[in-house]
Amino acid sequence: MTAAAIPIRSDASLAFVNYQMDHAYDEMFATAGVPREHYRALQQTLLGLAPEELRKIQQAADLTFLHEGITFTVYGSKEGTERIFPNDLLPRIIPANEWARIEKGLTQRLTALNLFLRDIYHEGRILAEGIVPRELIYSCKHFRREMRGLNVPRDIYVSICGTDLVRVPDGSFAVLEDNLRVPSGVSYMLANRKVLKRVFPTLFRDYGVWPIDHYPQALLATLRTMSPENCAYRNDPKTVLLTPGVSNSAYFEHAFLAQQMGIEVVEGRDLLVHDNLVYMRTTAGLRRVDVIYRRVDDDFLDPLRFRPDSILGVPGLFNAYRAGNVTLANAIGTGVADDKAVYAYLPQIIRYYLNEDPILPNVPTFLMSDNTHRQHTLQNLEKMVVKAVGESGGYGMLIGPQSTAKQRDEFRALILADPRNYIAQPTLSLSCAPCLIDGEVESRHIDLRPYILMGEKVTIVPGGLTRVALRLGSLVVNSSQGGGSKDTWVLRDADRTGGPGAA
């Protein structure tokens, strides 16, 4: 970072010697050396541990991940392949009052997003009234014409959502992006918790942390309430998880969630469609399938309707879906609502459907299709983050302050060639939190991805995945780009923010 760094030296231990603070919001310290109330007990614990011990604890945790095979696959790397997802042992702690606000904000946002999707695939009122420009929606590559006029169970398009939140320098949370297609990472949230409970049992208990272990049950319950109209057993729908297969980067998660829910993981080749009914191939013959939690992108779901070269999908699946014989969660075509240019309209969308102000604000976003926005961005490229609207996972973006002149020229050309495909945001100082780097506590940038479930009701498991940019000064938290994660503790009790160490 270029900002003046203020080294702080804690008097009691070596643990914080290299802890640096800059203008970003620091989760742990209010000012240099003075921890916030809810981080005090954690600091006490850390000061009591020698660097050697800390290193040992981290090694033991890494070994657990390796032995349990909690890995992800990196595309394009040679040895191929499976790596453990770096886990940072120091929990990120969120006080009860802050969480209450996040929870309200997320519920509001997802409610509005589902109403929006229902609207644009049916009457299109919001487009007719000019709140959201028609051409913005119809030019989106994730808009699916096939979905127009098609009804989905409970009018819920997005049942599983992972929203990326960042904390900006004034300490408030803002939404960076909505992941409405097939958000991943929830298994790491659960794995991190399992490890942390082993590593810091006393600290964990004394802090009074909301449990998250019921996420798989909540997910299953959500999926089951989404059973299709024409379901053989309405109250006992056959539910499966559709995976692209073991070579998918998130396969561990697919297997893990299915196991925890007690449902089958199926691949495209396990399913077939006959007379618009979906069957799976079992040792006892063919069996009807009612609800599919699909972890396969729209494009690959059905080679007869979408990409014909897909071998991951099931021929005829879309027709079965349209006939109301099977539920897909999430629905097809939800990507239009997490398009980064549509994202810019979210405050208006929330006001339009709910007549409420957004509880969680957006990050300021410049649309490259807008002349003034574009000019402003092109003049300030070295201060901006530019993103392709339909991408995720940290691919296809430019981080201005860390870019070379050549990269900026490339993006300038890209933007001018296809303005609709890009947006820009001012470079955000993501908040910082203490992380264990080689036995010492150092500060790294983090974000937060809570998981929201919406079926008959909305369920948000307290916490989520806190992602960490493990490289010093880096702002990119994606696992595919050298990010890691840490456990997120949401405290139960508004009064007990400090744990046992707090006076």
């Binding site: 297997a255 089958e264 013959g285």
Partner: protein, 335 residues
């Protein structure tokens, strides 16, 4: 208030069948693990024998090992290091210990949600341990530890599986894979041995042959059991009977076929399949082993007898595949 009479029946109605792909993965996982264990045991036994033998006899034993393990494409003179490379580390040889462990793990990885985390952790640990090793000069003399680790790891996996996994249909495919593979490898091992040995008589063997017969028994994890049943006096006919027809020895052909047969019956019931081709073939084989006399077998020629067993094993494998894993959709929809 009491629940209605048919409450349990309705609520806990068991669904027949499981995903064919998953069943197939469990079956193959089990076969590969069994093969890795078998290879490790034979290598371990041969290594011990090698230390006691003259170089000429020793070289002949390596050839025996290659034949007993049915490794294709190994020609000419064999040196221990090259052999270790082929049987233990080679990725080109699909039946080397490393290849088998990778394949077993890969099959289990495809169905991780179907097995317990304990099982996965056990197999994954064993795999990491095996691929961590490299063949080096003098390696073979110090390799006992690795072979032990594979055998113990496989036993531990089997124990963890039996103790933690529901003994439902999936578990039955694991049983099935293990015993189909075991029947096959035992038949191959015994066949190779008997083709080289002098005619099996009911007389004690001389000291020159003693070691190779002990090797055979140890290769079937049966030496101690044999001593308990027959004393340490090695009579080839008794050994043949013990390894082929004993119903209590886990590494006898008959025991393996019995287990294979039992698993197929349960699977037939659980899947409610009218077509029970695999169970029929296995039942026939079982009957043959149950009512055979060792003297008759010797008369017919033990080689032929073992060849037939291997043939029927292959038939059972094909039938399992055809009925449970890869059936034609059209006939299913019609029924």
């Amino acid at each position: 208030m009491r629940p209605p009479r048919n409450f349990y029946v309705k609520t806990f109605k068991r669904e027949a069948g499981m995903l064919s792909r998953v069943a197939e993965n469990l079956y193959w996982m089990s076969r590969y693990l069994e093969r890795a264990e078998h290879t490790a045991r034979l290598l371990d036994v041969e290594l011990q024998l090698w230390l006691d033998q003259s170089p000429e006899v020793g070289a002949g034993r390596w050839r025996f090992l290659v034949d007993a393990l049915q490794v294709a494409g190994v020609q000419g003179r064999l040196d221990p290091l090259q052999l270790a490379e082929t049987l233990v580390f080679s990725r080109a040889n699909g039946s080397s210990i490393v290849s088998c462990m990778s394949a077993a793990r890969e099959n289990l990885r495809h169905v991780r949600e179907q097995c317990n985390s304990e099982m996965w952790e056990q197999l994954n640990k064993l795999y990491l341990q095996v691929i961590d090793r490299r063949a080096e000069e003098g390696w073979i003399l110090n390799s006992h530890e690795l072979f032990r680790a594979v055998q113990e790891g496989a036993h531990l996996f089997q124990g963890v599986t039996d103790a933690t996994m529901s003994h439902g249909e999936g578990w039955q495919y694991i049983q099935l894979g293990r015993y189909v593979e075991r029947t096959h490898t035992l038949a191959a091992l015994m066949d190779t041995h008997f083709r080289r040995a002098a005619a099996a008589t009911d007389l004690p063997v001389d000291s020159a042959e003693y070691l190779s017969w002990v090797g055979l028994l140890r290769g079937c994890a049966a030496f101690e059991a044999y001593c308990k049943a027959q004393t340490a006096e090695i009579r080839p006919l008794r050994v043949a009977e013990f390894l082929l027809l004993n119903p209590e020895l886990p590494h006898s052909v008959r025991f393996s076929v019995d287990r294979m047969n039992a698993a197929l019956h349960v699977i037939g019931d659980l899947t409610e399949r009218r077509e029970k081709l695999p169970a029929r073939i296995a039942g026939r084989l079982r009957a043959k082993l149950s009512f055979s006399q060792i003297e008759e077998i010797m008369e017919e020629g033990v080689g032929t007898y073992l060849e037939n067993i291997r043939g029927e094993c292959a038939e059972i494998h094909a039938a399992i595949h055809q009925i449970y894993f890869d059936y034609a959709i059209d006939t299913e929809l019609a029924s």
